[in-house]
Subunit: 384 residues, 2 copies
């Protein structure tokens, strides 16, 4: 097999664009220098567009989980009640973060592969009026479900002033988010998904409503303290040492977002999802998520005729093509194809045609080219 | 379209493996340092394996054409007669190099897309016994033809002691070459093809027979002087300043050749050719070269129903996938798909599935997935 080629199609970390890789190789600069200030200053308005907000977006040196914890420790006051919609492994993670502190945590457990509905959340909050915040995973990476956060925010707002706090880790920058317009209060993500960077940066945006609560918090974290990040970014600096090479990369990424256009990026992800799902259907491979709640960034497949883990091994052995397995009880049951960030429709076609060969190698009788043809058909219908 | 992704499928320059790219980013070293000597020392036996020779291989800072000129100016004495088999644009280039000097040049013109046969060369040399060297392009990049150099060398040797001089630019390291065993006298190539490097290095290997003639040459070039390269490389140095970053890359490339194994590399190229050709046939796209003389590194397609140039534009517009056009009178008639060097079977599948969409976009009625399926079938038959 060709040496030094790995085709990385897991739902993050994703491949890094060459220009971003090059940018990250620039020599180090002083973290309190004019150059660093310029990087931050330029990033601010571009990040706001990605989050759909006029508020400042905090740039934290940390992974996605640090972003989630930041949301909690700043916005939730000691002893408050919160609701976590658990639709998969990352909803579970969100709940564990809440439980690590002294909050009273309600879990709304949803079967993995299903989305949580606005009605379910609304009903739960109505029955538990002490709930001060609702935590929802936008894209549940472990199942490929995109929860309808806009509709949930709308439904909750009608009956409660609980904050709506979003885990946007495998969605933001690949799927539309309009924090201000949709009434989302906090959204956080990491850099290693649709932001096409290595892990190491977390981004957190808050609504005015959230800021009021954050300002009143008597006991926020020292490092993950949003007030510090905001007062610093307003002066184009950071409260703690920034991850400079990732800031170089971020500058390049945000420029490429402008070049492609955010709307085009969202359309590309939608198209890659539709192509992938059409192919899996044509190959008789059952999809875990329903069409209505499918994520544009990751597709989970639950094969019935063979073990997903064996199938992943074949893809790796034949093509060094890496798709992800499942998590927790779905670990061996599903495989997950990432199609986010630095991934093109041509990359999706490549993955599908490799999957067809791997199915044959597994002894499955599939019509060669059938999945590819279905994906191509989707492309021809959607791209005029 | 995804920003910063170009899918480069021209017959060289080819994409660079990430490890090679990283290696080339190392800081500069002194060109007469111990480090440079170590790079050269380690490269020597590995290059010999690629050329199939026990003689030293010259490493010249220059492009492929400098390698061709090196072969001529060292091995051909003033006033000698030479034969050039012109099977395409690079045979023509070879003839022009010879004509730039005071040699008497015979051209054996072959229709583009055809190979030159051992019989044709043998007959020509027999009828012109003053010919002292025969120049042949191994892979004629402009047509995708692989000329049968082994058989030609054998046929010529029976009736003449003319040197057999090979342009190996788009073949060596992707297609087997056994300089010593096959009776080839000089073979040259550039770094930007199956060597997976940027252009800038030429490699030239010579037989003992060729060396005798080179040593007796009263008027070789100053820079392209093979005696200087040999006496220097024997001491692990170079006569002129070496292209250091390319030597870093070469070290990595030669290691990857060892890791994959030269035989496996040749098999991979053969497989990529077979997959590409099967797909084109399934899509009713006429191939320029016959199966018997098809090159494992590049496939030329001569569409009849549409302009090749228009088709290339569609591939670029839809996928930023770059295939080459033709050269000279075939400029607008053909397109050429490179499948050499840092290119995998998965990359071939990607190219084919993109071509299927582009055909539809051109208004051609092709069965979607048909070319992909044909290529997949080849893979399944050849890879056990």
């Amino acid at each position: 097999m060709l040496v030094d080629q790995q085709i990385l199609r897991i739902p993050g970390p994703t491949p890094i664009p060459p220009a971003v890789q090059r940018a990250m190789n620039k020599p180090m600069i002083g973290h309190r220098s004019e150059e660093t200030s310029t990087l931050l200053k330029n990033a601010r308005p571009k990040l706001q567009k990605v989050f759909g907000t006029t508020e400042e977006v905090a740039i934290i040196a940390g992974s996605g989980t640090s972003g989630m914890e930041t949301a909690f420790v700043n916005a939730i006051h000691p002893g408050e009640e919160v609701l976590v919609a658990v639709t998969g492994a990352f909803g579970e993670r969100f709940a564990q973060i809440c439980e690590a502190y002294e909050a009273k945590v309600h879990r709304l457990n949803i079967e993995w592969g299903q989305a949580v509905t606005p009605e379910q959340v609304q009903t739960y909050v109505q029955e538990n009026p002490a709930i001060r915040a609702v935590f929802i995973t936008y894209c549940e990476t472990s199942t490929g479900v995109l929860n309808p956060i806009r509709e949930i925010a709308e439904a909750v707002r009608k009956i409660s002033d609980a904050l709506i706090i979003i885990d946007g880790v495998s969605s933001i920058a690949g799927v539309q988010l309009e924090l201000d317009d949709w009434g989302i209060d906090i959204a956080a993500t990491g850099s290693q998904k649709a932001f096409m960077l290595p892990a190491g940066l977390a981004f957190v945006a808050c609504s005015q409503r959230a800021w009021e609560k954050i300002e009143a918090n008597p006991r926020p974290s020292f490092y993950l303290n949003l007030k510090k990040y905001r007062s610093n970014i307003e002066k184009n600096t950071t409260p703690f040492t920034p991850a400079s090479s990732l800031l170089y990369g971020l500058e390049e990424v945000l420029n490429s977002f402008e070049q492609e256009g955010l709307d085009n990026i969202y359309k590309r992800h939608q198209l890659m999802m539709n192509m992938t799902r059409a192919a899996m259907k044509a190959l008789d491979l059952p999809l875990l998520a329903e069409d209505q709640y499918a994520s544009p960034t990751v597709t989970a497949v639950r094969p019935t005729a063979f073990k997903a883990a064996d199938f992943r091994k074949v893809l790796q052995q034949e093509f060094n093509l890496i798709v992800a397995g499942g998590q927790a009880h779905l670990a061996d049951e599903i495989f997950r194809i990432g199609h986010m960030g630095y991934c093109s429709v041509a990359d999706v076609l490549q993955t599908i045609s490799a999957i067809e060969i791997a199915l044959q190698k597994m002894g499955q009788t599939v019509q060669l080219g059938a999945g590819t043809a279905a994906a191509q058909q989707v492309y021809l219908e959607e791209v005029q």
